[in-house]
Symmetry: none
Subunit: 206 residues, 4 copies
DNA sequence: GATGAATGAGTCTTCATTCAT
DNA sequence: CATGAATGAAGACTCATTCAT
């Protein structure tokens, strides 16, 4: 009996994995709106109804897919902020671009889904907030130490995050500028450079 | 005869205006996907079929709504780039934010629609490209004159445009950061400041 | 004043002609169901509403188009039935095929419209009936003279008419058999031959 | 488990039957164009969407209805072609008329649908071609044996098929000639007689 | 736990017809 | 006479969700 339950749970877990993987693939390939429950269950080779044993609805499925990706992202973000200034920023920028590039379909999907569902909007905002807050904390520290000029740390943090994020989106998801025009390393360098100068640069009084 | 035609044309123009205005309002309020032709004609108090007298379909209606807004934006963008450097950038940034804030619903709608229709994606890309190209031309000039360090002008132009654009979107359309936290002038100042330093700043060798 | 009325009438007649010609072309090219009032007025370069000054509706327009064609057909059919037997039949068959081939689009249209509107069904039945009746009268005469065997003249007349008519339809409108496989003269010869033997042939008792 | 599946499959099969029967009835009664999906599901007392579980669209539903009828027809056509000549032809003619009379609504529907959808045109052409080809093969044989005069076998086969087919259509579907004027057996006899003489008849030289 | 048949709400689009000008 | 803007009815098709087995 206990064995049976064990087997059942195993089977259930396997089904869950299949569905989650299928959902990820379909969302990635087709986008949020174009993804249908039927499409996911077809790919997972389960019955249509089985979907609802593991997800409340499409939104929920996507949220669970994104949770997976987030783990990867947070890991990447753990990268030390120690060491040379430029190198630190470059590492962070590169990390983000690498993850974004790897999952461009899903990011695009998230951006798309955000418009369709308040829940996904919240998910997205909650996902990026830690990154922005980390930037802000760093800025506060730098200002307090007098290492950089006084800036509106909140607005600055959001602006810098926006720069990297939206550049990544248009570049990788929309091909503007094309990857032919701007190589990956150039993108990292430019964003790093802009970030560095934006924060640390000194402008001669005019 | 001419009078008669005049009256009819007047009425037709009025209907067209009603529909366009209604479309604008509904798109603004509900977003792209949630907007239905029925919703628009209800608001315009015309028959359902009348919609198709003036638009080919929903996509076409949205494109025509955006064309209106674009005119405003281009006008705004005509603002002179002459004069003090910081003031020039500030003027451009402020102009963009003013228009964006005034039409946040529509911008959001455009960003949403972009995912649903290749046509709208093209519209959006075509809309922003002139701005990015203008930035790039300016950068090329500045570099050639030796006024700023050598940068990848293409990537830089896209990155700076992204910064302003996406900050505006999250700020005005999603309320992150909230308008309470960051006042309009602070936003303008911060974006201007970052832009200025990112481009003109000198970083002490580390 | 009288002059004005005259001019008006002239103009009206011209419009009527334009519309009728346009209707004929559009029906011929697109078929009954696919023809729209808008399509006809577009081709006639008149206003949409003008159509209803000259026709009650689509059905009526088609009926008027067919009336034109009928005149041609009846003229053709006037061809003398005098002279050599085989030549007479051949002349009739050829006449029919010539007219059908020249207006295959309209015939097809008629056959199609017949299913959509009882009026057109009646038109079509009324159009063919005189031909069938003529055949029948001839058969009655031949039987009474003992020139042919006793046949059910009514059924025979309809059967022979059907043979020619439906052969023409599938051949010219549907391409079965193709015009490559069966040349025009072969079609005439075969139908004539079958008609001749069907009526005049003697079968050895079996 | 097998039992459960069995029950579900049974129910599904029942639904399929209901829908197919309903489709047949509605097509038969209203014709192709006038038949709506809603009309079919109403008659089958299923939800609108259920229709699309079993058919791709209206065209597909009609094709499936016709497939049923075809089976009957082919069975009928299996009737032996052996034995007395006249009897053989009579059997074939009678078989065709019996099936046609039984499904006059559907045949009419097919003829109508043929004009609306290339697929249905193909279905119809494919359906009749075997019959025509069979006739042609027979004719080729008879000619080669010298039992009948040399004829264009292709054209003759199509002409004879047309005669029976179109007579049946106008007679049973349009009532011209009416069934009062021409009794069923008379129709069979006349068509048989015409066929026989058309092929085997000898005409005295004139 | 898994299945998959059934549901039915929701939208776009076409077009014949009318009527004020 | 001619115009053409406006009407609104009608129908096909999709898909998220439920529930009996």
């Amino acid at each position: 009996m206990a064995e049976q339950v064990g087997k059942r749970q195993e089977r259930a877990a396997a089904t869950a994995d299949q569905l989650l993987a299928a959902a990820r693939e379909v969302f990635e390939a087709r986008g949020y709106q174009a993804t249908t429950v039927g499409g996911i269950t077809d790919r997972a080779t389960t019955a249509h109804g089985t979907f609802y044993l593991y997800f409340r609805n499409k939104e929920d499925a996507f949220a669970k897919v994104m949770a997976q990706v987030l783990d990867e992202l947070y890991e990447e973000a753990e990268a030390s902020w120690a060491g040379d200034l430029r190198a630190t920023i470059a590492r962070a920028v590169r990390g983000f671009l690498v993850v974004f590039r790897a999952h461009r379909g899903l990011w695009r999907c998230l951006l798309e889904g955000m418009h369709q569902s308040p829940t996904l909007e919240t998910i997205w905002l909650d996902l990026r907030r830690p990154f922005v807050e980390r930037i802000e904390r760093t800025l506060v520290l730098l200002v307090s130490r007098g290492e950089i000029r006084a800036v509106n740390t909140r607005a600055t943090a959001y602006a810098l995050a926006s720069m990297v994020e939206w550049f990544a989106f248009t570049h990788f998801a929309l091909g503007e500028p094309s990857e032919d025009d701007v190589a990956f390393d150039e993108a990292v360098d430019t964003l790093t450079d802009l970030w560095l100068h934006a924060v640390y640069g000194r402008v001669a009084p005019m």
